[in-house]
Symmetry: C2
Subunit: 196 residues, 2 copies
């Protein structure tokens, strides 16, 4: 096994175990077993379990953003872009349920909470497509006159709930249903006296 393979195997094993059983259901010994390496070997690649977890999160985030950027165009109406982005998010996580589960675990942990806090207070990065989109809609009066975090809750809340339900097997999502759901989200954020 090549060096870089070992690292990848460790990341993959930890990702799967943590997504499925949570941080505390994924002991390092089990991660090592699944990765096909010795327990000590993990520590040649990652300083600690915390560092490993943070690294996995960071890699996932990169993949998600790359995938969303793919085929996203800044042209098109606000509505079109909103629908496109929301649909892509849902599609991505349906195809990568493990990523969703891991990110949820992470975001519900203390690390995730402080991360969100930092980002909310900080300036929007290029990466924050959704944030830019919503802000543009607020400024242009296409969206309801509400604070940004509220729009986030209105747009993202249902998406998260939906993905959770789908992954747990509570709903069977198909393209038609996704389309309807995303349009319903748009109804939630858009100004009702404006067209569309």
């Amino acid at each position: 096994m090549k060096n870089s393979d070992k690292r990848e195997e460790i990341v993959l094993a930890a990702l799967e175990l943590i997504a499925e059983h949570g941080f505390h259901g994924a002991p390092m010994a089990m991660v090592a077993d699944r990765a096909g390496v010795g327990a000590g070997t993990i520590y040649r690649y990652f300083e600690s379990k915390d560092v490993l977890i943070a690294e996995i999160f960071s890699e996932l985030e990169k993949k998600v953003v790359e995938s969303l950027m793919q085929g996203y165009s800044r042209d098109g109406s606000l509505r079109e872009r909103f629908i496109y982005l929301s649909t892509m998010i849902i599609r991505y996580f349906m195809a990568n349920a493990i990523h969703f589960k891991f990110i949820e675990q992470y975001m519900n942990s203390p690390y995730g909470v402080s991360l969100r806090r930092e980002r909310l207070l900080g300036k929007a990065r290029d990466i924050d497509l959704f944030r830019h989109l919503l802000q543009e809609g607020i400024d242009g009066h296409a969206l309801k006159d509400l604070p940004l975090p509220l729009h986030f809750a209105l747009a993202f809340g249902p998406i998260l709930s939906l993905l959770r339900d789908h992954i747990l097997g509570f709903v069977e999502l198909d393209d038609a249903l996704i389309q309807k759901a995303v349009e319903a989200c748009w109804d939630g954020v858009r100004r009702q006296d404006a067209p569309g």
Copy 2:
């Protein structure tokens, strides 16, 4: 200290610690300390940590339902009842942030997931005000033609996100904002070609 006081002290201590630090951040020894009892004493009242946790959840659920039933009337339009119920849920958890945090922890744990599964498959209980409300709206074509779980996601998703944000200090919710948020949720679920 009376007997019943001890039990209550234990429940309160565990509730607070778990809400703040999660299940794994609330060792029984710490619960005992905060409750002002010996570690062994907890086991005179609760068979195990799991049982203690389940008991707390059950007590909280009872309180929430009681509080929501208070002042809820089956008369009034669907919209009125939707707005009322959503508003009350937000108000309750803003006033009882600890309850919200505990319930979230529980719902994200394996116990919570199987609980949800059982309930979703089972018949709606009298208690499930929201479920009845949404079903009525679907049947009466006042709401969009979508499966029930999707309506749950559209209506509840934003409420959960909003409460999370408020409790973490990411938004400052006041009555006016709550009103607007709840109306936006209604816009999400209602048929857009129908009035109101």
